[in-house]
Every structure is written in structure tokens, then in C-alpha cells.
Symmetry: C2
Subunit: 264 residues, 2 copies
């Protein structure tokens, strides 16, 4: 297995002059996913939880529907290849797949999911409420857990939580990958996502929002900014979107009835 | 033309309780690129400089080689469609294109360019030197110029500079798009990139590094972290990679001979 980080020697320039130091940078690991003997995609990722990433990715992309469909997952972490055998996956239409995968890149694609995925997406109806105090505590814990980020500054983090605790945590160079790792773990380990929260370090675009809606998650919390489409989708799909959680402040963009302000 | 931002009403929670405020979020605009009557990709972008983005994207992806090949660019910014007619582009092999485009997404693809693009990439040999003082001044100016980021916190910025000034500046929700907008403008407006610097707000992955190498740019400056592959490629391709420019400090990862420390 490749390491998550690598040491490099760096020239550090500051007001005190220059000196040679050792710096830690995050590793880019190419993982090629082969589904039923067909090469699908090469993800650039952090080399941890590759099985969870693979399964989470396949679910997020709609290529798998349930854990039962997964028959075999064989990971060659030296070559960076994962082979998945699954039932219920028809012949992959390269053209549809092309659009689907482009869509889920960073800043790639939109028309695809707005057309069909959003229409078919069921609204999240969970009646869960959570206090703003609990969200601040969870985000604080979230930052403490981000060890790879602290070491390198080069990764995103994601977490699945209930109102008290972080239940599943992941880090990856890609913000999509970090969330897919969470969902892959939930699916394979039978951890429910209903009535729970997702925290992400990354910005909330429509793609991220839709990914979270697919797992029926009622509350999405980000340390960063949402886009307009992220806000509109959250509103339409019944998701509470919280952004810019920093210090003791946060912005609640949609469905704010789920957030109970401190003192209420 | 769509607006770059949208106002949304937000519930702001803080230690002082809660209040309704108006917040500004960044717009996600889907732009579908049609090259010689073939639909290529839908980019999610910020709706400015769409012509530059389109041409920059096509060059970065290797689908265009020179400005002379571009015969017509027709933008329908209401529908979000740009039609490009170009000479010298053969029939597009969907399978090759598939790999190529996946590669350039965020955290997608690696094997493709490492195999052929890197091998074919000519080393950057510019003998330009620049002082650390000049880099700090440019990054300071860069941050002042990031108006959309200041308003929304939801975009990346990129700039082409010489040792004194920012020459071309762009902002976009995608870090790849922001750089492609710069390169598109350079190509269409005959602005040379040789012996100049690129500043980016985003992390430096191998993909970003390779994009910059293709424009023969000797110095890449980032406010954020590089990945291991970013560092290795910069080293191999003769590019000076500067990261974590913050306050009065910076890390020079590769080819540090181009950076003259203050006082030398």
C-alpha cells in the first residue's frame, strides 16, 4: 500500500531569511476501477479505504443499488487496480457513463443530473432536530480529527455524525472521494445514514448536495461556501444546509427548522 | 448572461442569537461545449469569460494546438451553449476523449497523462529569476483582486504575472476553469506565457502542474499545498513550484534557483 504522505525537502523563505526544511506533502494515488471486467475510471485519491471509496463511488454514480449486488471486490493496491464483480449491472453504455462520470468531476457537468437525477430524487423527510451548539461541537471535533490535513494542508475531510458523535470519518485529496469513502463504509458495514448529518470541509456544489440526498441525509454541514445550485437543491430536496461554520458562527441556508438555536 | 452571484436569505446563528440576513452565494453555470458539431462536455463554471474558458479548455485538453485553428466561436449564454468550429481537429475518438476528460476533473484520472503527456512534455528552460519580495507583493495584489472570493468565499482565482504586475486575472468556481480562462485569454489575445508566473489559490496536483507546463511557464505559485506528484512533476519538468505563500512566508519545493531571497 502506498503511503498517505511523503517527505520532501523544501526551501523555506521568511523574514528570517532562508533555510532548508523537511515538509510533508500528501500523496496522489491513481486507482483504476474495473467493474465486471470493464475499465470504468481512474480516480486520483489518497491511498486509504480503497474498498470503501470504490463501493461508495459506484453507488454515488448509480452503478450499484444495494450491498447485495456486490459479489467480489479484489484490490491490488500495488498496481492501483480494484476489480469489482457485481450482479444487476447491465452492459454499461459508454455514452451514458461518459456523461455521468464527467458530471461528478470537480466543476464538470450539470445538465445530466438536473434532467433525470433531480427529478427522480425523493425528498428527505426526516423530522430530526439538532442544536447549533451540537453542530459547533461536532465541527470542532471534526477539525481535531483531520490529522492528514494538519500535516499537509492538502486534503478534504468528511464525516457522518449523529447529534452527539462522529461515527465515520475520512480524508482524501478529493472532496468527492472523501464523501464517497464515508458512504462506501456505511453501505458495506450496514451503518444507516438516515436522520444523520454529513460534515464536509469542502464547498457545497449541486453535485455534493445530490450525492448526500441520495443517501437520504437530512443535514449537510460545511465549513465552506455553498453555490446557488447547492442552496436551491437543498431547499427543494428538504435538506438543511449549513455553511461557513467558523468559530461560533454558522449560516443556515435552507430548512432551518431543523436547527435549534442555543438558548431556545 | 447569468449573474456571477445570487442573493439568498440566510439564518445567521452566533453567540448573539439568530437573525435573518442576506448572503451572497456564487453561481454555478453549466456550459456545454460543442466542437465541430459534436457535444464534448458540460463544464460547471462561473459565467464570465466563457469564450476564454472554452478555448483554454480545448487547448489544455490537447484538442486545439494553435489559435489559427479556431474558425468560429458562437456563444449562447442564455442556453449555456458554446459552438466552436475549428480546423485540424480530426474525428474525436470517444474513448480517448473519455479518458482525457475524466483525467482533468478534480481527483479523477492519472494513468493517462503519466503515460503519454508527461513523456512528451518539453522541459521548461526559462532562466528568469524573481525575488521572494516580488512574489509576496504579487500574491498580496492577487488577494486584493479576488472580489468574487471576498463576496462569496466560493471561488478559486488564478493570475498570469510578470515580476512586477498581474497581467491577466480570473475567478471561477473550478480551480481548473480559473486557469483555463487565463490560458484562453492569452491564446486569443496573443499574450505570451513564456518566462512568466502563474498564481493559483488552489492546491497543486499533477494535473494543474501539467497544464502549466504545457504553456511553458517557469514559475507556479500557490497559496495552498502541493501533492507529491505535483512536486515530482515540477522537479522533472524544470518548473519552480512555490506553495503555502502566507503572510511573509513561502515554501519553495523545486528549482529554487529561480527564487532570489530578500537581501541576497
Amino acid at each position: 500500500m502506498a503511503n498517505e504522505t511523503e517527505k520532501v525537502s523544501v526551501l523555506r523563505l521568511s523574514e528570517d531569511g532562508k533555510k532548508s526544511i523537511e515538509d510533508v506533502v500528501v500523496t496522489e494515488f491513481p486507482l483504476t476501477i474495473i467493474l465486471n471486467n470493464q475499465e470504468l475510471v481512474t480516480l486520483l485519491c489518497s491511498p486509504t479505504n480503497l474498498k470503501y471509496l470504490t463501493i461508495g463511488f459506484l453507488f454515488s454514480e448509480g452503478l450499484l443499488k444495494s450491498k447485495d449486488e456486490v459479489e467480489k471486490v479484489i484490490i491490488d493496491d500495488r498496481k492501483g487496480i480494484v476489480r469489482v464483480e457485481a450482479r444487476g449491472v447491465g452492459d454499461l453504455d459508454r455514452d451514458v457513463l461518459f456523461k455521468r462520470l464527467i458530471t461528478s468531476g470537480c466543476g464538470r457537468g450539470a445538465s445530466f443530473y438536473s434532467a433525470s437525477d433531480v427529478r427522480n430524487q425523493v425528498k428527505v423527510t426526516s423530522q430530526i432536530e439538532i442544536s447549533s451548539h451540537a453542530i459547533l461541537a461536532l465541527v470542532n471535533e471534526f477539525q481535531q480529527r483531520s490529522i492528514l490535513f494538519k500535516a499537509t494542508g492538502g486534503v478534504h475531510s468528511a464525516a457522518l455524525c449523529d447529534a452527539r458523535d462522529i461515527l465515520v470519518f475520512s480524508e482524501d485529496i478529493g472532496r468527492h472521494n472523501a464523501i464517497d469513502k464515508i458512504f462506501g463504509e456505511c453501505l458495506l458495514e450496514d451503518i444507516t445514514t438516515d436522520s444523520r448529518l454529513i460534515i464536509t470541509s469542502g464547498r457545497v456544489s449541486s453535485e455534493i448536495l445530490l450525492k448526500v440526498a441520495k443517501r437520504n441525509i437530512p443535514v449537510l454541514v460545511s465549513k465552506s461556501a455553498p453555490t446557488d445550485s447547492g442552496v436551491h437543491l437543498a431547499n427543494d430536496l428538504g435538506i438543511t444546509l449549513v455553511g461557513f461554520v467558523r468559530g461560533k458562527r454558522m449560516n443556515v441556508y435552507t430548512n432551518s427548522w431543523r436547527i435549534v438555536a442555543n438558548g431556545e
